[in-house]
Amino acid sequence: MSTPYAKLPAWADYGLIPLINLSVAFIVAGFVVLLVGENPFRAAIILVEGAFGKGTGIAFTLFYATTFIFTGLSVAVAAHCGLFNIGTEGQAYIAGLGIAIACLSFDSVFPWWLTFPLAIVASALVGALWALIPAYLQAKRGSHIVITTIMFNFIAASIMVFLLVGPLKPVGSQAPQTRNFFAGAELPKLNWIIELFGAKIRSAPLNVTFLLALVMAFLVWLLIWRTKLGYEMRTYGHSPKAARYAGISETRIIITAMMTSGALAGMMALNPVMGDQHNVAIDFVSGAGFVGIAVALMGRLHPVGIVLAAILFGMLYQGGAELAFEMPAISRDMIVIIQGLVILFAGALEHMFRPYIQALFASFSPRSVGMEAVKGKGA
């Protein structure tokens, strides 16, 4: 009675089920497109071609994906410790302040490869500190992390507005942003990699932060599954009582996990700020923190899944922009609906088709579900 459904082989669990969920999301989205009087097949082609058809499209897709990898990893690290960090948005936003300080101070003296490490540390540090306060309140006072991190998003936004229309704005400028960075704080583009494959790129913001994101994905895997700290986080995340029993300090583990999460969120800011805009502007995060929640869920909290989910969302962003451009009937909001459907089917309704697929597998090959082995031979 306790295990009504048997286990699936890994490829079905991590490949087939997400694929089915995604297909259903696109089918339903297709109906929405049909409803506004456009051809869903043409729309799908435009979307995919816009994202992967040309070199420029690929570069944009990966640029967006970079941002989502960071926010997805941030949400995932907290989630492994049982904490729902909704504050990724604010942590990334306020981290722009750290980057601004590092870049504005050194961009005229250092080359990019000296400014970059400084900016990484600064962004991670500010993001981590911003997560520290809600973490402390949760650990010591029991204030719910979901509530406090949401509130800290608003506080972060207000502080940034204050700074960007005031102290950080160059005198005489009308725009709520810092001055543009000099070459010492501009990150090299990675477009040449895509050009190696023969594609042409006009101008696209894909930059070295993408590589940093991949490195961080690996480090997160290492942290969660291969270190004592990660083991403790997962123990606490699955069962706080078991963690207490095992001698794991609740305060310490909550604060460590949240600061790690905040640091990852903070690093997200490097991508748009140093890689693309070359200044810190108002609202540069623009919802990427919240997309990170969907990316983390869809990626099943695993770095590999997160990278893939981030690329999917990068595709939706880039291809969606093309779609809105090509099909006037499909507005920007329609794109958000499609993204919402993906989140709905791939995230929230993740288990909807699972029982059927499991039943199907069981009827084809009872061995592959492996429950006989689990039960043992009896005595």
Binding site: P4, Y231, H238, S239, A242, A246, A362
Partner: protein, 510 residues
């Protein structure tokens, strides 16, 4: 013989590849008490869930009173006169008895007429079956024995002719259980049919007319209770001969390893759960704490193992005090040789989502043996897990398997292996064999006695009186947070039962 109340013909039910029930045939005669026994996972609960409409059989037929019946939901079952008393009560704690009884059977948008009708009906039922309960009492203020009576009344109120009870005595004192059995006999005399699911063979012998044994999803035997023995039933359940009572030599108690003095513990609401408790555990002996669940044993264990705050008193481990402020580091206590097998292995002793090897280091994960700098030494952990799997015969022997996929007995072995293999001086064990099948119980008991014979101090808390009597060299009985008596292993069940019910204490007070 009387006409069959229920006939199950060729019932099959699979969950994925697991065949929970295969070709089950069962006749339950009207006006009898029919026992169904079997180990955990033998398929008893699945079968009853099919009968009560929680699940549908893949194939097979159910007949109620000779008529083919289609039972798709519990409501269908109720309409056919089948009632069920669940192992975990389905009552609303802050409702009155009456409100709980009409819940789901209200026949009007306004409750007033339903309540009036229920009150008179309840009155009749109580008189007829000797099921006295105050209809206006709040459920959470009633002892468990009475709560169970409310569950029975609920079923009868809905017109149940056939009553299914799932492990009904797990939470009762021996006296309460006896009372329940009297009620069941009375129901039988009134022509009702009772189906009793249990793993306690003594109860089966005491009360049933017929008993059916399930093993691995099949019905292996049905016997007239008068013509069978406990030994035969145990053998049928497990499929081989089992020792129901472990054999052990005399204890050679040595120095005091664990000394508890005047310990008082309150729960989060300020209710005193452990009240001025003192006792010693010496090297080379097993001290058993008997008591009905909820009399402070859990809190006592948690306080001793440093994870619960104690108000006053002291606990000395090898002559040195344990921090009782609730801020103690359980890791430090482990270093001092205190190993703890917690009562709740699902939420405390194990992380069910972890792989077996990950659980085999829980609590000892800071040990340099398992680490390489800040990294886990995966090779060492796996080797260690394999070693324990071998020694403790944990099945299936795959350290990469998720812990949730092990049976209860094997999960318990994972915890025991982890704690015992650290070679602790003091081992405290809560409910060593709760939810563990008969075969594994024997193994676990032998291991505990082996620990004792190696000169370890062992403290066992269990609600299973048989277990306490079979293992312990000294028995302490806990009632309402106090130790109300100490007895030797030769104490009779009746004597301990009275202590567990707090009888002696009340008499002494008079």
């Amino acid at each position: 013989m009387a006409q069959a109340a229920i006939e199950l013909i060729g019932i099959n039910k699979s969950f994925g590849a697991v065949r929970a029930n295969r070709d089950i045939n069962l006749d339950i005669a009207r006006g009898t008490i029919h026992g169904i026994v079997g180990e955990n996972g033998a398929g008893k609960s699945t079968l009853m869930s099919i009968l009560y409409g929680f699940y549908q059989a893949d194939s097979g037929e159910i007949r109620v009173g000779g008529q083919p019946a289609s039972i798709k939901t519990p409501n269908d079952a109720i309409a056919l006169g089948i009632g069920m008393v669940h192992q975990h009560f389905m009552l609303v704690d802050n409702f009155t008895v009456l409100e709980n009884i009409i819940l789901g059977a209200e026949n009007d948008a306004l409750l007033k007429s339903s309540i009036a009708k229920a009150r008179s009906e309840l009155d009749r039922l109580e008189r007829e079956y000797g099921l006295e309960v105050d209809p206006d009492a709040i459920i959470e203020e009633l002892p468990v024995g009475l709560q169970q009576r409310v569950e029975i009344l609920k079923a009868l109120y809905r017109g149940a002719e056939i009553l299914i009870l799932d492990e009904p005595t797990g939470v009762l004192t021996p006296a309460e259980a006896d009372h329940l059995f009297r009620i069941l006999k009375q129901l039988k005399e009134q022509g009702k049919t009772v189906v009793l699911i249990t793993h306690k063979l003594r109860e089966i012998m005491a009360i049933t007319d017929t008993v059916s044994v399930m093993r691995q999803g099949t019905m292996v035997a049905t016997r007239e209770t008068r013509q069978t023995t406990v030994e035969e039933l145990a053998e049928l359940m497990v499929g081989r001969r089992v020792l129901l009572r472990v054999e052990k030599g005399e204890a050679e108690a040595g120095a005091v390893k664990l000394a508890v003095k005047n310990l008082t513990v309150r729960d989060s609401r300020g209710v005193t759960m452990v009240d001025d408790v003192s006792f010693d555990v010496r090297a080379g002996e097993i001290v058993g704490i008997a008591g009905v669940a909820g009399n402070g044993q859990s809190e006592l264990l948690e306080a001793i193992s440093g994870i619960r705050h104690a108000v006053s008193g002291s606990v000395m481990l090898d002559g040195k005090p344990i921090d009782l402020t609730g801020k103690a580091d359980p890791g430090e206590l482990r270093d001092r040789g205190l190993a703890h097998v917690p009562e709740d292995r699902h939420h405390v002793g194990l992380v069910l989502a972890f792989e077996e090897n990950e659980n085999s280091i829980l609590g000892y994960h800071g040990d340099p043996r398992y680490l390489k700098g800040p990294f886990l030494n995966v090779d060492a952990i796996m080797a260690d897990a394999k070693d324990k799997i071998e020694k403790y015969d944990i099945r299936p022997g795959n350290p990469r398997l998720k812990t949730a996929n092990f049976s209860g007995g094997n999960q318990q072995k994972i915890v025991l292996a982890r704690e015992m293999e650290q070679d602790p001086g003091v081992l405290i064990v809560g409910q060593p064999t709760r939810g563990v099948d008969v075969g594994a119980i024997e193994f676990i008991h032998k291991r505990l006695i082996a620990m004792r014979d190696q000169g370890k101090a062992v403290l066992v808390v269990s609600v299973e009186l048989d277990e306490i009597r079979s293992l312990s060299d000294r028995i302490l009985v806990m009632f309402a947070g106090r130790i109300v008596g100490e007895r030797g292993p030769e104490a009779t069940e009746g004597e301990l039962g009275l202590l567990m019910a707090g009888v002696e204490r009340q008499e002494a007070a008079q």
